[in-house]
């Protein structure tokens, strides 16, 4: 045979590597610095800046001064110097408690040094991470934790020492490999020779791991470790440029505060703010030095978008012995693990690197792609005193139940934080309780103390609906609305309203994070969105969860006291929730087959029609909608009946017609279980025993009835051949809320009704 299989395989992969010259965008230079008593390694997208920073003595001073004197982040940090010092004191006081628990030692003792380095925020975040790790493993292996924390601190100390020599790899290598090298650097090498050896070994092993995975490899044979020599340019000539670059670095850092962006997104953001050239290859090469300098100054963090997962604690001894790490990757943006990674030949870095399939819709996150994390601004803030419930109800026109719940949330929010991890607070408010009104005072309090607030909701139409309401309530605040295709994409505001997917673009960005419908479709069973929701909150911030039907784990956490929460058991109009009536009828597929509807169902429908209500009729299956509509039309020829489902293109239009009463009866699936408020409506749920309707879903559907104060007693029916646990549980939860409301005296009295 003329063409062998091997030939063709080469042909398949070969072509990706012809494009060597584009590599610079996603290839980075890996280098190691030798310090007294050890060494450390990192990688850089603009190595000349790193070399000047570590080797040119005048350079580091110049950029430090320039960054400190700049009126952006640096100044904010410096302005808060005394404040920070005091906080350090406080923290030290608290640490003694931590110390007792975790066996940590002298962590915050070098406050002055920290400030000098201008790395306050970074160090704090890192400390927070260390602590969180420590807390997570508190119960299981406190001793080991102590060791881990000690090791981290030792590493930090080595990083602060004066650099003696810098040794770099002669050619840029793919980012994925560079991350591996930096991660696996042992720091044991004490001389130049040792550093060279270790670097060559680690780079070679990185390529070798590709070979083991069966990936095509094109390594440069002549690559080697070289010592970087300090040049004249670094010491003197670069200083003037350095100041300009430092100013640009600070500008970029302040624009990227609290964000987690891919390099293309960061460029777009900087471009939109006029801090970078419009997109293109030139824009990146112009922006890279500034970003790299900002990273060196600790104002930013550069990382790979898909990076190796840290080794599990139980396997760290293997790494300590120099064993190869397990090739497990994690998307740093959405938190997805190896299962969602796909390796393909990449023209960018020239190897087969992995990308994350889970968050593709937000732009591709790749192993060789940069993810740029802006450092959160952590200024000390003045804390207003929480307002009393009575004052709240007067200023914001809240009902007594709403005011009481909001006051409790405010007390929680404004209480001093005892640890930097975000605190969670659950608003367990019944359907139609007026959740939006209740979050206004929280946002106002956050704005008063100079913080930033975020409202995240699963659906885009809810974002668009909230936008004018929030803008009206907070006329003086800057409001940013984010959703797919929003033109405010790169703006920063005091209040941000966003769809959940937009949260991937933030990290430690907000002091107050309000998450609407935590149990609804995208969050529920989606660890990716939960990860996003958790990481957007700043250390020390508050995460407020809103739900009418919290998922079981949140309910049990609330019951056991692990999760602070407040219940709002009554609707804003102060009437009790309608209790569902259970009626036994055969399953829908049988009804459709026998072409007649049971008398009980027809009569109750008739009663609702005659009282002039709008009728929701929920079914399980999309395929049952149309036949049922036909059958109902023949029974009730006088009224307009329509059906809709997720596959219906005219859904929005039908909902509008249902709202203005041109459609009287709407047959639908669970897609309309939330977010639709129709003033005078009754709810009929067929096949209420089906497995698609869990208790949360049933409560939400039942919550469509009796929403307005004009018709507070809507009717709710569960039609099903059998009584199931979820139906019973839904009815029990509705009854419980009504009971609590009655006990607390939130319900409207007969006298008030007049």
């Amino acid at each position: 045979m003329k063409h062998t299989r091997v030939n063709c395989l080469w042909a398949v992969f070969g072509c990706a590597f012809l494009s060597w010259e584009w590599g610079d965008r996603v290839r980075v230079t890996v280098y190691a610095a030798l310090v007294h008593g050890g060494s450390w390694a990192r990688w850089s997208v603009a190595p000349e800046i790193d070399f000047a920073y570590w080797l040119g003595s005048g350079y580091r001073k110049a950029v430090g001064v320039a960054a400190g004197g700049w009126s952006g982040v640096g100044k904010a940090e410096r302005g808060g110097e005394i404040e920070v010092g005091r906080n350090e004191e406080e923290r030290r006081g608290r640490n003694s408690g931590d110390k007792r628990r975790n066996g940590e030692i002298g962590r915050a003792d070098n406050a002055e040094e920290v400030i000098r380095d201008g790395k306050i925020a970074q160090v704090r975040v890192k400390e927070e991470a260390v602590r969180r790790r420590a807390r997570a493993g508190e119960t299981e292996e406190a001793a080991k934790n102590g060791k881990a924390v000690k090791a981290d601190l030792k590493e930090e100390a080595i990083r602060r020492r004066e650099v003696v020599a810098v040794i770099a790899w002669s050619v840029p290598i793919p980012l994925g490999h560079a991350v591996q090298v930096a991660e696996r650097w042992s720091g044991k090498a004490r001389d130049e020779h040792g550093v060279r050896e270790e670097m060559a070994r680690l780079v070679r092993e990185a390529w070798a791991s590709d070979v083991r995975l069966g990936l095509p490899v094109q390594e440069r044979e002549d690559a080697h470790a070289v010592k970087v020599v300090a040049t004249e340019g670094m010491a003197s000539g670069g200083v003037a440029d350095a100041k300009a670059l430092a100013a640009r670095a600070c500008r970029a850092a302040s624009l990227l505060q609290g964000r987690a962006l891919l390099s293309s997104e960061a460029l777009a953001l900087l471009g939109a703010a006029g801090a970078a050239e419009p997109a293109g290859a030139a824009a990146w090469s112009a922006a890279a030095p500034a970003l790299q300098l900002a990273a060196l100054l600790g104002l930013l963090r550069l990382g790979a978008a898909v990076a190796p997962q840290p080794q599990p604690r139980l396997l760290r001894w293997r790494a300590a012995l120099g064993a190869r790490p397990r090739p497990r990757l994690r998307c740093q943006r959405c938190g997805s693990g190896t299962a969602r990674m796909r390796r393909t030949a990449c023209a960018g870095c020239g190897r087969a690197c992995a990308y994350c399939e889970a968050c593709l819709t937000m732009g591709r996150s790749r192993e060789c792609g940069l993810l740029i994390f802006g450092t959160p601004s952590l200024q000390a803030r003045a804390t207003p005193a929480p307002s009393a419930a009575s004052a709240l109800s007067a200023t914001w026109a809240l009902s007594p139940a709403q005011a009481e719940a909001t006051a409790a949330a405010l007390r929680f929010m404004l209480a001093p934080a005892h640890h930097p991890a975000p605190r969670r607070f659950l608003f367990w408010a019944v359907t139609g309780a007026g959740k939006t009104e209740m979050i206004y005072p929280l946002i106002e309090a956050e704005l008063q103390r100079g913080g930033r607030a975020l409202i995240a909701t699963p659906r885009r139409d809810v974002v668009l609906e909230l936008d004018p309401r929030i803008r009206k309530a907070f006329r003086n605040a800057s409001v940013v609305t984010l959703y797919g295709g929003s033109d405010q994409r790169w703006e920063q505001g005091e209040i941000t309203i966003a769809t959940t997917h937009q949260l991937f673009r933030f990290q430690y960005g907000f002091d107050l994070v309000i998450i609407d419908e935590i149990d609804a479709f995208p969050y529920h069973n989606d660890p990716m969105l939960q990860y996003a929701a958790e990481k957007v909150c700043k250390p020390g911030g508050v995460n407020v969860l809103l739900s009418a039907t919290p998922p079981a784990e949140l309910r049990s956490a609330a019951r056991s006291g692990c999760l602070s929460h407040v219940r709002v058991p009554v609707r804003f109009h102060r009437h009790p929730l309608p209790i569902p009536k259970q009626i036994s009828v055969p399953p829908v597929h049988k009804l459709l087959k026998q072409r007649s509807l049971p008398r009980k169902l027809v009569q109750s429908l008739q009663r609702s029609i005659t009282r002039g209500a709008q009728l929701f009729l929920f079914v399980q299956q999309i395929r049952e909608v149309e036949p049922l509509v036909q059958q109902l039309r023949s029974i009730f020829p006088d009224i307009s009946i329509e059906g809709t489902s997720s596959k219906d293109g005219d859904r929005a239009e039908k909902v509008l017609r249902f709202r203005d009463r041109t459609i009287r009866l709407l047959v639908t699936t669970t897609i309309l279980e939330r977010g639709v408020t129709i003033p005078k409506s009754d709810v009929f749920i067929l096949d209420a025993d089906g497995k698609l309707f869990d208790d949360a879903s049933l409560i939400q559907m039942a919550g469509r009835a009796g929403r307005s104060s004009d018709d507070p007693a809507g009717r709710v029916y569960f039609f099903a051949p059998s009584r199931t646990r979820s139906q019973q549980s839904a009815i029990r939860q509705i009854r419980m809320m009504n009971r609590i409301a009655k006990r607390k005296g939130f319900l409207i009295t007969h006298k008030e009704k007049g």
Binding site: M1, K2, H3, R5, N7, C8, L9, A11, V12, F13, G14, C15, A16, L18, S19, E21, W22, R25, S264, G280, A281, R342, T344, A345, C346, A347, G348, Y355, E357, L360, T361, R364, R366
Partner: protein
């Protein structure tokens, strides 16, 4: 289906067939369990249990049935399924035929956008398989009209993908035509040669009118002399058949420019060679 010898009585035959079927289903199910990808459809996520097309196992039956295959060709030159005024107007076609797998409708546009712009590279095997179907169609016609000389191993000697500009490659991190060509190369054992180069970065074709496209593509591509030379020396025969692979055929200007550049370079290097150029595209709009 399972067929058993006649010696076994009818009753037993049925019983054994049923049992064998159960065992086979169980085996297939357990093999599916070992599979890293679940049975969910690649595009709609549907987990139906209907038997799937063996070459398109990643698609559910509903999605597979929606593929707008080109089954009947109206224009023999460009493989269009309806009357084509373009090919009769064109006087300088550098390629003999184009064959496309599917019509470029809303569904295919969505799939290609998912693949090209979103970078959902998991679709590559699926699209490659569609292109493979078009390739078989091309070979069938070829055999019918020009029976192969006996000494030739493959009906086609090399696959040449249409290049993208370096800017686009840097942005997208892969060349969709090259990936499609690579899939074809892997499954037909025909070598892939990346000999074409783009001389300049022209904007997206999809934003342009027909006239602008025809004007823009003039001299847009060149064949790299060194790579072409090495391809010709590896082929080493007087009669060469090449396929140019791309994702979409709209006016044919890109394909024609590529074929012309290729033909020019081969003529310059080997004036005696007889070159036949075909175009294979995924979608015909």
């Amino acid at each position: 289906m399972i067929t058993l010898p006649r010696i076994i009585s009818a009753r037993f035959r049925i019983a054994i067939t049923v049992k064998l079927r159960i065992i086979l289903t169980a085996m297939r199910k357990s093999v599916q369990l070992l599979n890293a990808t679940s049975g969910a459809c690649l595009l709609c996520g549907n987990m139906d249990r209907k038997p799937r097309h063996p070459s398109f196992a990643s698609l559910c039956t509903a999605c597979f049935d929606q593929i707008p295959w080109i089954t009947r060709i109206e224009c023999q030159v460009c493989g269009r399924p309806e009357y084509c005024p373009d090919c009769s107007r064109r006087s300088d076609a550098a390629f003999i035929w184009n064959r496309s797998a599917v019509r470029y409708n809303a569904l295919i546009r969505e799939w290609l956008a998912l693949y090209k712009y979103r970078g959902h590279e998991a679709l590559a095997p699926l699209l490659g398989e569609m292109l493979l179907a078009a390739y078989h169609g091309l070979i069938k016609t070829l055999n019918h009209q020009h029976p192969l000389p006996l000494q030739s191993q493959h009906p086609i000697d090399a696959i040449i993908p249409v290049p993208v500009s370096s800017e686009r490659l840097a942005e997208r991190e892969f060349n969709q035509a090259e990936r499609l060509g690579a899939y074809l190369a892997e499954h037909t054992l025909i070598p892939l040669h990346n000999v074409l180069e783009r001389t300049r970065h022209s904007g997206k074709q999809s934003y342009k009118t027909r006239g602008a496209r025809l004007r823009d593509t003039h001299n847009l591509f060149t064949a790299n002399p060194a790579l072409t030379g090495s391809m010709l020396s590896s082929l080493d025969q007087p009669h060469i058949r090449l396929i140019v692979v791309d994702d979409i055929y709209t006016t044919g200007s890109t394909a024609n420019a590529c074929a012309a550049a290729l033909a020019d370079e081969i003529k310059r290097q080997q004036p005696a060679a007889l070159v036949e150029l075909f175009v294979l595209t995924l979608a015909r709009s």
